[in-house]
């Protein structure tokens, strides 16, 4: 009967595998194939072009600019999100009346879709009729076209991204902070550590596995899932300053119908994510302290 027990797990995994193959592996393999082809609009004619799609991409100075934009956007929003989340989470674990209610409200952005978040920020920042513009104008007498001028459009998109990602990080940090044993903090206080030292010398290292995990998660989000916010808020403009890699991919595939190039771009993104994750796991994980 031993063969049965060996096979059982695989049989049980079949349904999951079918779903993963249909929705992940098959499309991924298809786009890999597509990146070596040029295709007519309706897919009725296609031709093998070898590496032409990739060569076109990397001989286009525009594409390097898009990569740079993506990196600045991703790294700065990830860094700021993690930093702000770490600070705010310190406040949210204090035993102050109303903390629970406040936590509830601060988690709200995570529960709404990127499209809604983008629309919301667009309303707030629309030139001359947006609420935030109105407040800025009344209080400081300045009127900025947040979504239509450089570099403000880039900043606006980053703000919205941080606002959207923050609750996810907060949940993890709060859970992490609550699991730090009180005895550790008490003994540090006896040793004379002040608030600042406790925060960075004790809590931060103890929470490093969480930070490590959040970095990867946030980075993936900004690289791949930032599409909704950008599409609604700026559509990649002005002058392409908010066109990230994923948005360019969308434009090439669905606005310019250049499927071959779009597929090549998805392979490039896959490679970049692979390399960054690899480097990160090999170099940074050493400094992560698991309890």
């Amino acid at each position: 009967m031993s063969w049965k027990s060996k096979l059982t797990p695989y049989i049980l995994l079949i349904p999951t595998f079918i779903i993963i193959i249909i929705f992940i592996y098959w499309p991924a393999a298809y786009s890999f194939k597509l990146s070596f082809y040029q295709e007519s609009f309706f897919g009725n004619r296609s031709i093998f072009v070898g590496l032409d799609n990739f060569i076109d991409l990397f001989t286009d100075p525009e594409y390097y600019r898009v990569i740079l934009t993506s990196f600045i956007y991703s790294f700065s929003s990830v860094f700021l999100t993690i930093f702000i989340a770490f600070l705010i989470s310190q406040l949210l674990v204090q035993n102050i009346p109303g903390t629970r209610l406040f936590r509830l409200f601060i988690f709200a952005p995570y529960a709404i879709s990127p499209a809604i978040a983008g629309t919301l920020w667009s309303f707030l920042l629309t030139p001359t009729v947006g609420y935030l513009n109105y407040i800025f104008l009344e209080l400081f007498g300045i009127d900025t076209d947040w979504l239509t001028t450089t570099p403000y459009a880039f900043i606006a998109v980053m703000l919205a991204t941080i606002w959207k990602m923050l609750p996810f990080d907060l949940i993890f940090y709060i859970a992490g902070l609550q699991s730090i044993p009180d005895s550790l903090l008490e003994s540090s206080m006896i040793d004379g550590a002040n608030l600042w030292q406790r925060m960075w010398k004790i809590k931060f290292p103890l929470l490093s596995p969480i930070t490590f995990y959040l970095f990867i998660m946030n980075f993936t989000t900004t690289m791949f899932a930032s599409f909704g916010i950008i599409d609604i808020m700026t559509k990649g403009g002005p002058l392409g300053t908010t066109t990230t890699m994923i948005y360019k991919l969308y434009l090439d595939a669905f606005a310019f119908q250049n499927n071959g190039s779009a597929a090549a771009q998805s392979i490039v993104m896959f490679a970049i994510m692979g390399v960054i994750t690899f480097i990160y796991f090999h170099n940074v994980e050493k400094s992560v302290h698991y309890q």
């Binding site: 040029q38 609009f41 309706f42 897919g43 031709i47 009729v129 007498g141």
Partner: protein, 407 residues
């Protein structure tokens, strides 16, 4: 013999009650969804054997992408509304039944009934491929009440770039800190307006006769003097705070700015004449319309039609294609065209519809509906004002030709 008769009766009754169902995909959002549905309902009342499923499939771009996906999946809709610039791609795909062929086969319809300026756009290499339905051009809307307020003549809209700048300067308002709180002009920041302003100057967007002389265009040529004129105008107006640029392709944003009187003029499509006139009334001001401005009065070009047309797709049984053709034909009949025109602002694509409205004196009461039509009718007919057609890049084109040769 008896059996045969019974069989005959059965066949006749089946064919009488048999309904042909056709799918109609369109890209008209907002109140137009209801409008098209109610028009289709009227069609079904008079054609009880045809059932039309009307489906809103998102923006023009979304509809185009969904059509591609549907064709690839082997399940295309019968009728689909495709935007102007998708024309060449649709032709290349070879997925449509050319409307010109259907018109030739059908004695009840005459191609001469359509405005040539409209059919010219959808005729490529001498063949008409799709049925013009919702045609539009860009025009200038302006706030007559605001014109009066700043001492401008509400019946003299700007005609040249210089006048546009001069008027915008008068309409502009600043607060104590020097921030602009009211602009002269706004627009949806859409490349279509660039195309229109190029046509006004009778300048091509792409080479090889704007892609209309049988050879594919190989190069974009809009960095000409005409193109520079437009960019200089926009730059100057933006620098001076006269022009409020919206986000890319933000139609509703531009509309909102004009309706809330944050800008005195807006470049927009004639498709929303009804909306502008009525909403302005609710907000206590009056709207005027004008032709697109030109660099100077000696320039003689025209406007390109925009909007969409109806395509009948291949791959369906003959009776379904025939039913689809009945519906498309019905939609372009004068009665339907007039209804569509009055409810939106898109102009009628048929001469008889225009004649009817003119004889009824409609336009003397509602001159704003006439502006785009006159702008189009007065256009010089050249490849530049008929609009650019293009699809693939040269490289793709070469590769695909090579491919067909290999097959």
């Amino acid at each position: 013999m008896k059996k045969f008769l019974v069989l005959l009766v059965v066949i006749i009754s089946i064919s009488m009650f048999a309904q042909v169902t056709i799918e109609f995909w369109h890209a008209m959002s907002g109140w137009r969804i209801q409008l098209l549905q109610s028009m289709a309902n009227d069609f079904m009342k008079t054609h009880p054997n045809i059932k039309v499923n009307v489906q809103y499939t998102g923006s023009y771009r979304d509809t185009f992408n969904k059509t591609i996906a549907a064709v690839k999946a082997g399940n295309p809709p019968h009728i689909v509304q495709i935007y102007d610039i998708g024309t060449q791609a649709m032709i290349d795909g070879g997925i449509a039944v050319p409307i010109g062929d259907l018109i030739d086969e059908d004695p009840s319809i005459d191609k001469g009934a359509f405005l040539e300026q409209v059919t010219n756009y959808y005729t490529v290499d001498g063949k008409m491929y799709s049925m013009p339905f919702n045609s539009s051009t860009a025009i200038l809307f302006y706030n007559k009440t605001m014109f009066k307020e700043v001492g401008l003549d509400p019946n003299k809209p700007p005609r040249t770039y210089d006048e546009l700048i001069e008027y915008a300067r008068k309409l502009q308002k600043k607060d104590a800190n020097g921030n602009v709180i009211r602009y002269g002009l706004t627009w949806p920041t859409h490349s279509w307006f660039f195309e229109q302003l190029m046509a006004v100057q009778n300048a091509p967007l792409v080479n090889n006769g704007n892609g209309r002389v049988g050879i594919r265009p190989t190069e974009a040529v809009f960095n000409s003097q005409a193109g520079k004129n437009i960019f200089n105008l926009f730059k100057k107006m933006t620098d001076e705070g006269l022009l409020l640029n919206t986000k890319r392709e933000d139609w509703s944003g531009a509309r909102q700015i004009f309706i809330s009187q944050k800008a005195g003029m807006v470049l927009y499509s004639t498709s929303d004449v009804k909306f502008f006139v009525e909403t302005a009334k609710e907000n206590g001001f009056e709207v005027g319309t004008a032709f697109l401005p030109k660099p100077n009065l000696s320039v003689q070009g025209g406007s390109v039609i925009g909007g969409g047309s109806l395509w009948i797709l291949k791959g369906h049984p003959k009776e379904e294609t025939q039913a689809a053709w009945e519906f498309v034909k019905w939609m372009t009949e004068p009665e339907q065209q007039i209804r569509w025109h009055l409810e939106t602002g898109y102009f009628p694509v048929r001469k008889d519809a225009l004649e009817k409205l003119l004889s009824e004196g409609f336009y003397s009461q509602h001159p704003n509906y006439l502006t785009a039509i006159m702008e189009l009718l007065l256009s010089k007919q050249t490849v530049n004002t008929n609009g650019a057609v293009m699809a693939y890049s040269l490289k793709q084109e070469k590769l695909l030709k090579l491919n067909t040769k290999m097959l």
